[in-house]
């Protein structure tokens, strides 16, 4: 049976769908990849120029990191900072934002994500190799989600009173939630199967009456209730999976699902290539992954999808396909280009570097969130 899907509901920030005819392991991998491996942009380094608010630097810096920034098409629109050849960060691998708020009234001022301004970055000497990242960005890329929309409630960062001020410089970078949850595109992914617990994958603790104490989920309507005295089918496996993917707004739910599927394919394709080049097999018959895969551009071998052309390069809908193996082991040439220890130098301080030169409290400190 071919896997199938039925989208039950689609909103701007969520999608609800039913996945059928797949393994539990398959469905779970999709869940995991959507939660943890969709690249987004988030504030990663903050330079605190002035903070006379009631909240300490760390507190504010942490809050800034969690603010969702528009990350549509982040895959292509931004480079990983670690892969960039620039000295610290540049317009290809980072988004610069500033927050400059002071209160001069008698009323409490709410500092929110709407106060964050993206700084237009011009080119300069130290920047990384020229790429097409900038042309892949939408206008809002890197801007706080919902900024400028009157129907949208911004994220509160802190409240300040008369005479207080907050002035920070932020560097937002591309990352995935496996590294830090602030990069997660999803606030929640709900995942359910077997609402009647026919498979007995869980056991329901109860006082008196199991059915009264364990109300059925809505998804139970989609399935046959168990008959009275029905025997236990120990060969049965779960086949229908109920998902609800809820995003934080940085990426649309459609993009989360599709990128998730792409990412899984990239992982598998890279595994095939790795296994093949390690065991000295000339070519694997029946393994039909097209030759494009052998021509992947240099980049992090595992992290980035193998190919991101509009037409799925390995779109063999489960069937026979041409594609010979690229042959040779040079497929891995791109591997490891990712870690340049020199990037970030001077920024990775794990403790605040208080600048003693400019006054006791006002000194700039940089934070690696």
């Amino acid at each position: 049976m071919e896997p199938s899907v039925q989208v039950r509901d689609l909103k701007r920030d969520r999608v609800n769908f039913v996945l059928e005819n797949v393994d539990l392991s398959f469905a779970n991998s999709l869940r995991r990849v959507m939660m943890a491996e969709i690249p987004t942009v988030a504030i990663d380094i903050v330079e605190v120029e002035m903070n006379t608010t009631v909240l300490p630097d760390e507190f504010i810096v942490h809050r800034l990191g969690m603010i969702p920034l528009n990350s549509m098409n982040c895959d292509e629109a931004l480079r990983y900072n670690r892969d960039c050849t620039c000295s610290v960060s540049c317009r290809y691998c980072a988004i610069q934002l500033v927050l400059r708020v002071s209160c001069n009234d008698n009323e409490t001022l709410h500092v929110t994500s709407d106060h964050l301004e993206v700084v237009a970055q011009t080119s300069y000497d130290d920047e990384g190799e020229v790429g097409d990242e900038l042309s892949k960005r939408s206008e809002e890329f890197g801007h706080p989600v919902g900024k400028g929309n009157p129907n949208h409630q911004p994220v509160l960062i802190c409240k300040i009173r008369k005479g207080q001020e907050l002035r920070v410089k932020c560097t937002a970078k591309k990352g995935i939630a496996k590294e830090h949850a602030k990069w997660s595109a999803c606030s929640a992914v709900s995942f359910e199967y077997d609402p009647y617990n026919k498979l007995r994958h869980t056991s329901h603790w109860f006082e008196v009456d199991e059915r009264a104490e364990w109300p059925l989920s809505d998804n139970a309507k989609e399935e046959e209730p168990p008959r009275e005295n029905e025997g236990f089918d120990y060969n049965a496996v779960p086949k229908r999976f109920y998902f609800e993917v809820e995003t934080v707004g940085s990426v649309s739910p459609q993009e989360v699902v599709l990128k998730g599927l792409r990412e899984l394919q990239a992982k598998l394709a890279n595994l095939i290539l790795a296994v093949q080049s390690t065991s000295d097999m000339p070519s694997i018959e029946g393994a039909d992954v097209p030759a494009q895969m052998a021509m992947q551009p240099p980049g992090p071998a595992w992290g980035a999808p193998v190919a991101t052309s509009p037409n799925n390069p390995y779109a063999s809908p489960s069937g026979g396909q041409t594609g010979a193996w690229g042959g040779g082991s040079d497929q891995w040439s791109g591997r490891g280009s990712g870690t340049s220890p020199s990037s970030n130098t001077g920024w990775n301080s794990t403790s605040p570097s208080w600048d003693s030169g400019s006054g006791a409290w006002g000194g700039a400190s940089s934070w690696n969130i």
């Binding site: 071919e2 899907v5 989208v7 393994d23 129907n151 459609q254 899984l264 779109a315």
Partner: protein
């Protein structure tokens, strides 16, 4: 200060081999494959697919330590194919399933897009996210 870079969890280092294959010395047609910088997401899916294949006698995986970013997958075949070949076939099958699913999702989304574009009264995010771009009939693939 001397903490390892966080991305070492999922990015191969310079010159690091992505897999290591060890043939079993005692069991015929069996091998243990160490896959580096990957976790349960890949391992469990591959293991699941291997177990559905007829010529696989055994397939299992483990992540020996949660702080060490690799997993081991062990499999034994009935001898009709080598373990490595069977593993590649399993991955290829999964890629096929995923890409057909991707197309189905795209079809479903194109049906539902009309609804998203309607009056955005019930939408907490307004025109945030990709909402606007999708509404304009574009998606991230159009770039």
């Amino acid at each position: 200060m001397n903490a390892p870079a966080r991305h070492e969890l999922y990015v191969l280092e310079e010159g690091e081999k992505p897999v290591e294959i060890t043939d079993d010395t005692k069991i015929p047609n069996a091998a243990t494959i160490k896959v580096v910088k990957q976790d349960h997401t890949l391992a469990n899916m591959v293991r699941g697919e291997l177990l559905r294949m007829n010529n696989v006698l055994f397939a299992g995986y483990k992540v020996p330590h949660p702080l060490h970013p690799y997993f081991l997958i062990k499999l034994q075949t009935d001898g009709s194919e080598t373990p490595v070949k069977v593993l590649s076939q399993a991955c290829t099958k999964l890629i096929g399933d995923l890409s057909s699913l991707e197309q189905k999702f795209q079809r479903e989304f194109s049906f539902k897009d009309a609804r998203v574009d309607g009056p955005a009264g019930d939408d907490p995010y307004g025109t945030g996210a990709g909402g606007q771009a999708w509404a304009a009939g574009r998606d991230y693939l159009d770039f």
